[in-house]
């Protein structure tokens, strides 16, 4: 006998993600899962827990904390770690932080390179992880559409888009030369819509910032910036106003803009997205340098 009903697209994506995570866990000496606290990381973590149930995750999580994450993100991170009994490593580029590198005085590109990319590279080197899971999706950005699921990095963690290995069937090639490492992307074939539908289906907890509520914001260059703590530098003509906003994507707080919204439930978010006319990374100020910004950052080792 055989079943008559087709698997849904979410079932297929879930199974694919689990298979990729298991494959990397079996293939690499010392993998780690990058955990950025956002919705994609939350889905990836959920898949990993399913993949190894009833065992615990056979690898730790790594969070690169720039020191400029929204407070609610850190609360969510710590609560998740405690609730699920996770092994979390947190690393910050303390030297740069002590030298005063911050997202107000420094260009977004410099700040990102130093506090995110460099901090990530040094954390990977410190523990000699040979593979790192990331929650990146191919639909996020054009250069990501061509990235492999098992994507190789040179000893300096750089990506060379022109010398990628062919990737056929479900047969991934995990072989590494000395110094090379692998990035593994279990959510490659997911879209933003899939992520939210899955979060709703699986009842996954996410950071409350994704849901609309009145928050103190200023409007700057057409972007709504939330004033998260006293470090936010107001311009002379700015006064924070309470407006009903939410975030589609979460990063460092002065570099991630909110959107005006009243969507305070998953159902409302999903309905709002159906009518949204803007792409997800539109609120990410670091991508705006030029059209090829992401490709450049990835060549330099950005996740």
């Amino acid at each position: 006998m055989y079943l008559t009903e087709h698997a849904s697209d979410l079932d297929v994506l879930e199974a694919e993600g689990i298979e990729i995570i298991r494959e990397a866990a079996a293939s690499f000496r010392k993998p780690v899962m990058l955990y950025s606290i956002g919705k994609d990381s939350s889905v990836m973590l959920h898949l990993a827990r399913k993949a190894f149930y009833p065992a615990k995750l056979p690898f730790p999580l790594l969070h690169i904390d720039t020191g400029w994450k929204f407070r609610e993100m850190i609360l969510h991170r710590d609560a998740t770690v405690k609730q699920l009994g996770l092994d979390l490593i947190v690393r910050t580029n303390t030297e740069a932080a002590a030298n005063g590198i911050n997202p107000f005085d420094h260009a977004a590109s410099v700040y990102t390179q130093v506090m995110k990319t460099e901090a990530l590279k040094s954390a990977l080197d410190e523990f000699s992880f040979d593979a790192a899971f990331g929650g990146a999706r191919r639909d996020e950005e054009k250069s990501r559409a061509k990235e492999r699921i098992f994507s190789i990095r040179n000893a300096r963690h750089g990506w060379d888009p022109k010398s990628q290995r062919p990737e056929l069937w479900n047969l991934f090639n995990p072989a590494l030369a000395p110094g090379q490492t692998m990035r593994v992307f279990p959510l490659s074939n997911w879209t933003e819509v899939d992520i939210w539908s899955y979060i709703a289906r699986e009842k996954i907890n996410v950071v409350p910032l994704y849901f609309a509520k009145p928050r103190p914001v200023v409007e700057r260059n057409g972007q709504l910036l939330m004033v998260d703590d006293h470090r936010f530098r107001l311009l002379s003509n700015e006064t924070p106003k309470l407006r009903s906003v939410r975030f589609r994507t979460l990063g460092c707080y002065p570099l991630t803009a909110a959107i005006e919204s009243t969507a305070s439930t998953l159902e409302a978010i999903i309905s709002e997205m159906a009518h949204s006319r803007l792409s997800e990374r539109q609120g990410r100020l670091i991508d705006h340098d030029d059209t090829a910004a992401m490709e450049k950052k990835k060549r330099e080792g950005y996740f």
């Binding site: 079996a26 069937w169 803007l278």
Partner: protein, 623 residues
């Protein structure tokens, strides 16, 4: 159209697109994204801006720019590599692999086709069937694609001509009769103007068939759950002594607790106990599901094994026939060892024979002693140990494999298993009474293989001779295999091409293994220029037996010594494929013994070599 849904579910279809360079693949995909509202406003704005800067359509919107991702591509106006796009409608999510039509097309097409259920094959209506069209159809067929959508594009440029459309469709049908396609659906369209992509065209009243999107939404995906149960074990889940689960993705069939299964390889039969999941045990699972099973009996199962239906078992063999697509700049050489990944198993092996290569333009068979980049061959594969598989046409996941270069780590080839070869199965190894441990006791030393590698004239034979005399004097049982001598006998049929050098070393390694098994200390003095073959020789024997001895002499020194006058001849062009001159020598990276001949006399080198070797093999000087 890109509706969100919470309760209702839609299906997923994997599609790939192919066609010649200017047939308009990227434009078609861009158009599909655009007309299904899968392009957000800010990206639409960027598109208008990019169209002015990079566009190839003058003042019109260039939809191809939505999908040409990398900076280099936008500048050159071509698609370099396989890209994945997502189109979502109410009924279905599509994962579209966009494969470029120019250089590297075989490699990229095979990549795109490997996971796809449907091929959208573009044809430029102004050009008709091209050689590229034939190639693409042949590769799609080889990769097991059975459903073809024939997108006859640029129909606007031939004034929406029905007769021309019918002519092209009928030519393709005739040409494709030799393949195994089960459905070919021709659709007339203009990707640039959007006719019959998402919206029905008013320009072709004679056409009453579906648009591309309508057709893709209605295709029934393949049903792998119909086949016999197969679970390649990916991961053994063992959190503590009380639980042992086997995790993997079901390659075909369905499974329920209580089903009788065989552990392919060992042949042990047991029953499925549970299908374990985080949200409670399941009572059934099917092809495509990522599951964790437990079984009724304590049987040793590891990654690479296959749990299969006990009344319909997979093949288990160490040799099989396959079609192989070569994807590496370095040629495939028969006899050279590679890693083969099949299912969740990784084993070393060789292509033992190239039966022929495929001339993809004329679909003819050509004789070949190697496969180059983007060539396709029918080959026999021999593995170091048996694996479980099904023929590719019965089950892609059970019959596909990739070939990994052991030195560069690249994914060098992709293959489809056609059928097992029974040769090895019918020759059972003879059990013997006297074993190697008995011989060690008699000989008073352990066996060893000393593999001397280095350039011609480096001093390998001189040093090997001296060492053998020293070992002999100490009462050891030795034998020296010398490259030149072997080439006069066992290997007299081999020349000096890369392919023959690989076979030369393979035979010598097998002979050395037999002699070592007989308890001897075997000294092998061969240039053996390639790392991969030396690695293969090492892996033929138990760890600790093989010792690589790198006789390190710079080529200038070898040339000036030139004991056999060979460098003089090679420099004069009288010998071809001479190692170090027009054929590569790959130095050992981590040899057991590294002899630098410019610093020391051969006698001194042999002294120190002997001094380290003797205790390592338990040899004591005879009184």
């Amino acid at each position: 159209m890109n509706d969100m849904r919470l309760q209702e579910s839609r299906s997923l279809l994997r599609v790939f697109t192919c066609g010649s360079v200017d047939d308009g693949k990227s434009t078609l995909i861009g158009r599909l994204l655009f007309d299904t509202d899968n392009v957000p406003d800010d990206q639409r704005t960027a598109l208008l801006w990019d169209s002015k800067r990079y566009g190839t359509n003058g003042t019109e919107v260039d939809y191809a720019l939505l999908v040409d991702g990398l900076e280099a591509e936008r500048e050159q106006g071509i698609t370099i590599d396989v890209a994945y796009r997502f189109v979502a409608t109410r009924r279905r999510k599509f994962i579209i692999a966009d494969t470029p039509g120019h250089e590297q097309y075989t490699r990229n097409m095979a990549t795109g086709a490997s996971n796809a259920e449907v091929a959208v094959l573009l044809i430029d209506a102004t050009q008709g069937l091209q050689p590229q069209t034939r190639r693409h159809a042949a590769i799609a067929d080889l990769l097991g694609i059975r459903t073809i959508v024939l997108a006859i594009n640029k129909i606007d440029l031939i004034c929406y001509s029905q007769s021309r459309f019918m002519e092209i469709a009928s030519m393709f049908h005739d040409f494709a009769a030799k393949f195994h396609f089960s459905s070919i659906t021709p659709i007339p369209l203009s990707a640039r103007h959007g006719d019959n992509v998402v919206w029905r065209s008013a320009n072709m009243p004679w056409y009453d068939g579906p648009t591309i999107l309508e057709h893709l939404e209605s295709i029934e995906p393949e049903r792998a759950e119909v086949g016999p149960f197969r679970l390649p074990v990916q991961w053994v889940n063992r959190p503590d002594a009380s639980f042992r689960g086997y995790a993997g993705t079901i390659a075909s069939g369905t499974v329920r607790p209580g089903d009788s299964v065989v552990i392919s390889g060992s042949g042990r039969v047991t029953k499925v106990a549970r299908i374990v999941a985080a949200d409670g045990d399941r009572n059934t699972a099917r092809a495509g599901d990522a599951v964790t099973l437990t079984i009724a009996d304590a049987i040793d199962i590891s990654r690479g094994d296959v749990i299969a239906s006990s009344d319909s078992r997979p093949e288990v063999a160490d040799q099989f026939a396959a079609d192989l697509i070569w994807m590496d700049a370095a040629d495939l050489l028969p006899g050279r060892p590679y890693l083969f990944r099949i299912g969740t198993a990784t084993v070393s092996g060789v292509v033992s024979r190239i039966k022929h290569k495929l001339d993809i333009d004329h679909l003819e068979h050509l004789a070949a002693d190697r496969l180059s980049l983007n060539e396709i061959g029918a080959v026999n594969v021999a593995l170091a140990s048996p694996v479980s598989f099904d023929p590719y046409e019965a089950n892609r996941r059970m019959g596909a494999f990739i070939v990994i270069d052991r030195v560069t780590n690249t994914t060098a080839g992709a293959g489809m298993i056609r059928f097992p070869l029974r040769r090895a199965n019918n020759i059972h190894r003879q059990a013997v009474t006297i074993r190697s441990t008995d011989r060690v006791a008699r000989n008073r030393h352990r066996p060893a293989i000393l593999w001397f590698t280095g350039l011609s004239g480096a001093g390998k034979s001189t040093i090997a001779n001296l060492l053998e005399a020293r070992l002999h004097a100490a009462g050891a049982h030795t034998y020296l295999l010398d490259g030149d001598n072997i080439r006069h006998g066992l290997n007299r049929d081999l020349g000096f091409t890369d392919a023959d050098r690989v076979e030369n070393i393979r035979r010598v390694a097998e002979v050395a293994k037999l002699f070592a098994d007989a308890g001897l200390i075997v000294l092998v003095s061969f240039i053996s220029p390639f790392r991969a073959e030396r690695q293969m020789a090492r892996e033929l024997v138990e760890p600790g037996i093989f010792h690589e001895v790198f006789v390190d002499t710079p080529i200038e020194v070898c040339r000036s010594r030139d004991p056999k006058g060979l460098y003089r001849k090679a420099d004069a062009g009288q010998i071809r494929n001479f190692t170090g001159i027009d054929s590569a020598y790959e130095s050992p990276e981590d040899p057991e013994f590294w002899l630098r001949t410019v610093d020391s006399a051969p006698e001194a080198l042999v002294d120190s070599l002997y001094g380290e070797l003797a205790p390592a093999i338990g040899l004591e000087d005879s009184p």
